[in-house]
């Protein structure tokens, strides 16, 4: 094992508790292994793959570049806001931009997304104003965007639960008759995101079973960022994750999660299968969590910095930049304009975040039940009277 902290996770090393992981995974897992679908190398070279190809033009690649830069900006800006006490917490996506933009851009408007807490890039592709995400992390709401506006569900923090929601939603699409009609504007699919750690949850495995059993139009998109807080991927699995799909009865693909062309191509193919009624696909986007788990975490406690250095060479944005520059597809003006746009986005977030309306105390009682409840109404009244008994109450309500 190359990448966990030397004294950490000793039982995962060869011998003590089982086979040498090298025997199971092959020699150099840190690069994703030979099954990895890659269309743009870390050095910015386009390469062919027998099954998957990127079918958009260079303009689209420039668009992806812009998307990834803006997504990274959302992330760094939110991280900074948290550091300044403006957000309670933030879950960074640094390093996972290509996985999120490639898959997000492969969606059609009618497709539906069930995210974890880290899919800020996917949210961006669904047209959700990132300020709405900040509202959740600032605590001024509980995640209250309308999921039906961009077909983008609630951030799910209890890990794995959303994969079942996605599967059920996909079963609903079948009942709605919007799967396999042959009409590209109608046929719909679901993508549900989850992490390598979540892959150990019963929910996720049961979602696989249901999706397979009903041939549901759902893409299980796993961002294997190598870590579940402090636990390395080897704690969750002894075979490459995508290979699990086979046992459940649907295809699994491992894609270079830092290659936006490949994540787009693979997601597009998987979504198309789903929309056509051919059932679920497991996509393992092989990537790396460059940042901390969240802003409250300190990854130097459990992993090596040289590992991070290794992954920096595979940066998802840099390789696209190299490709565009080397092939004369974009000049300095192009990059400068995007930087200016990112600057503006940052400003929007900084200003907007501080201006988000604070919730009022009596909001506590809202939305506990659809249509309210007489008991909760009574508690609200009692509480209002209690607040009124203080002179300062007006300010709090």
């Amino acid at each position: 094992m190359s990448h966990s902290h030397p004294e950490a996770h000793a039982d995962l090393e060869a011998g003590e508790f089982g086979p040498d992981l090298g025997e199971v995974f092959g020699p150099r897992q840190a690069d994703g292994g030979p099954e990895l679908v890659q269309l743009l190398t870390p050095e910015g070279e386009r390469v062919e793959h027998p099954e998957f190809s990127f079918d958009l033009d260079d303009e689209a690649i420039k668009g992806f570049y812009r998307d990834m830069v803006l997504t990274r900006r959302i992330d760094t800006e939110a991280t900074a806001l948290q550091r300044h006490g403006e957000l309670g917490i933030w879950a960074q996506l640094l390093g996972q931009e290509a996985a999120q933009i490639g898959s997000g851009r492969a969606l059609r408007p009618q497709d539906y997304v069930f995210p974890t807490y880290r899919e800020h890039g996917v949210a961006y592709t669904r047209g959700i104003d990132p300020l709405r995400l900040l509202g959740l992390f600032r605590g001024v709401d509980q995640g209250g965007w309308d999921p039906n506006e961009g077909n983008f569900g609630l951030y799910t923090i209890v890990i794995g639960a959303q994969t079942l929601h996605g599967t059920g939603y996909a079963m609903g699409l079948q009942r709605d008759g919007v799967v396999g009609t042959g009409d590209p504007d109608r046929d719909a699919a679901v993508v549900t995101y989850f992490g390598d750690g979540a892959s150990s949850q019963g929910d996720v495995n049961e979602a696989f079973i249901f999706a397979a059993s009903y041939n549901a139009p759902v893409v299980f998109f796993c961002q294997n960022n190598q870590w579940a807080i402090s636990e390395p991927i080897e704690r969750q699995t002894r075979i490459p994750l995508y290979q699990r799909a086979l046992g459940f009865g649907f295809p699994g693909v491992r894609v270079d999660g830092n290659d936006v062309l490949a994540t787009y191509a693979v997601s597009k193919a998987a979504l198309q299968r789903a929309r056509e009624g051919q059932g679920p696909t497991f996509v393992e986007a092989y990537t790396y969590r460059m940042g901390a788990h969240t802003t409250t975490d300190d990854p130097t406690r459990y992993r090596l910095s040289e590992d991070l250095e290794h992954w920096k060479l595979k940066d998802p944005i840099q390789r696209v930049k190299v490709y565009l520059t080397r092939n004369g597809l974009a000049d300095q003006d192009f990059f400068d304009e995007i930087d200016v746009e990112a600057e503006k986005l940052g400003e929007h977030l900084r200003e907007g975040c501080k201006a988000l309306p604070e919730p009022r105390i009596l909001d506590i009682f809202d939305y506990v039940y659809a249509e309210g409840s007489p008991e909760i109404d009574a508690q609200r009244e009692g509480f209002a009277a209690y607040l009124d008994s203080f002179e300062t109450a007006g300010g709090h309500r």
Binding site: A10, G139, V158, S200, Q236, I364, H396
Partner: protein, 341 residues
């Protein structure tokens, strides 16, 4: 946490003060040193030292086999612990947030709690499940609940809520000794509080209610972090000439109700404080024990319950604070009890 006026049993030396979190760790370390069969398992408890830092350096002291980072599956963790317990081990599970016991409910409620009964006593499930509960840390609706009443409702489970550092250690040691599955719910806000835990402090028996303070006018019964808040309220009430008892059941199941009934019979007033939503909460059980006993004839005022609102814990700090009892609310409730009688 400040010293409690009534020193818990077995205290010989008030000298050493440690945090609640250190006290839990000390209990784990002592139990593991004393008994080969004891091991701990959970998420991020190894090199990371636990999401709340409770296991700390135990991984380095006891190794990966006895301080086990598990795959991210609470059902798996508890189920494996049940199996290990059946094999004669003494597993101590850490669930990262008590909210995620929801993932493990079958193993806790249908399995751990029932196996001894269904086997006619032929096997025991001596496991402990520790988990942080409660609000106050800005962790929002799915990471802040107080679900103690759920567990206390299940025959076969013992349920413990330590409110002081000394109890955090002593009750955990007793829980590890106990031949039954024991759920130990540690309040997140208490982890960093400190209290006297004398060197060599040992077991605090399960099923023994503690009287934290003895007063004349009102009996406050409180659990978890509400014990400390009630003690603070007691100081303020004392300044007003209202003299209250503060009683901490410590073990919710089995419940030692005698000291509560006795105290209520003396004061004639009961104020029952919990963080969890009031509806079908644990203090409803206490209220019912009072009215089902002769203490009812001594009541000078209706029993008063002060609980969390019947809402999910909100994220915004000012809303979160408003959703559960605070010291002010306890003081007000005690005063109004005095007025009502």
């Amino acid at each position: 946490m400040t010293a409690t006026p009534t020193a818990p049993a077995g205290t010989t030396d008030q000298g050493r003060v440690i945090t609640y979190s250190e006290a839990v760790r000390e209990a784990l370390a002592e139990a593991m040193s004393a008994d080969e069969r004891v091991f701990v398992l959970g998420e991020d408890i190894g090199v990371y030292g636990g999401a709340f830092g409770v296991t700390g350096d135990l991984y380095h002291r006891f190794g990966a086999e006895r301080v086990r980072d598990t795959p991210i599956s609470e059902l798996g963790i508890v189920g494996a612990a049940v199996g290990a317990a059946l094999a004669g081990m003494r597993p101590v599970v850490e669930i990262q947030f008590s909210d995620f016991t929801c993932q493990a409910m079958d193993q806790i409620v249908n399995q751990a709690a029932k196996i001894h009964f269904m086997l006619g006593g032929a096997a025991e499930v001596p496991m402990v499940l520790r988990a942080p509960l409660g609000s106050g840390t800005g962790a929002a609706a799915q990471h802040s609940q107080s679900l103690e009443a759920w567990f206390a409702h299940v025959p076969g489970l013992k349920v413990v809520m330590p409110a002081t550092a000394e109890d955090a250690k002593g009750l955990l040691l007793s829980a590890i000794d106990d031949p039954n599955p024991v759920i130990v719910l540690e309040h997140k806000l208490l982890y960093r509080t400190s209290g006297p835990v004398p060197e060599g402090a040992g077991r605090v028996p399960l099923g023994k209610t503690a009287v934290r303070r003895r007063g004349r006018d009102v009996t406050i019964v409180a659990t978890g972090v509400m014990v400390q808040r009630s003690l603070e309220a007691a100081e303020r009430l004392a300044a007003d000439g209202i003299d209250v008892s503060v009683i901490d059941p410590r073990t919710l199941s089995p419940l030692d109700d005698a000291p509560i009934l006795e105290d209520v019979s003396r004061t004639g007033r009961a104020l029952l404080v919990q963080e969890a939503p009031g509806h079908v909460g644990f203090t409803a059980e206490i209220a019912s024990r009072i009215v089902e006993s002769p203490a009812i004839y001594r009541l000078l005022a209706p029993i008063r319950r002060l609980s969390g609102l019947d809402v999910p814990i909100p994220y915004a700090p000012q809303l979160e604070t408003a959703a559960v009892p605070q010291v002010d609310g306890i003081v007000d409730a005690a005063r109004s009890l005095m007025k009502d009688s």
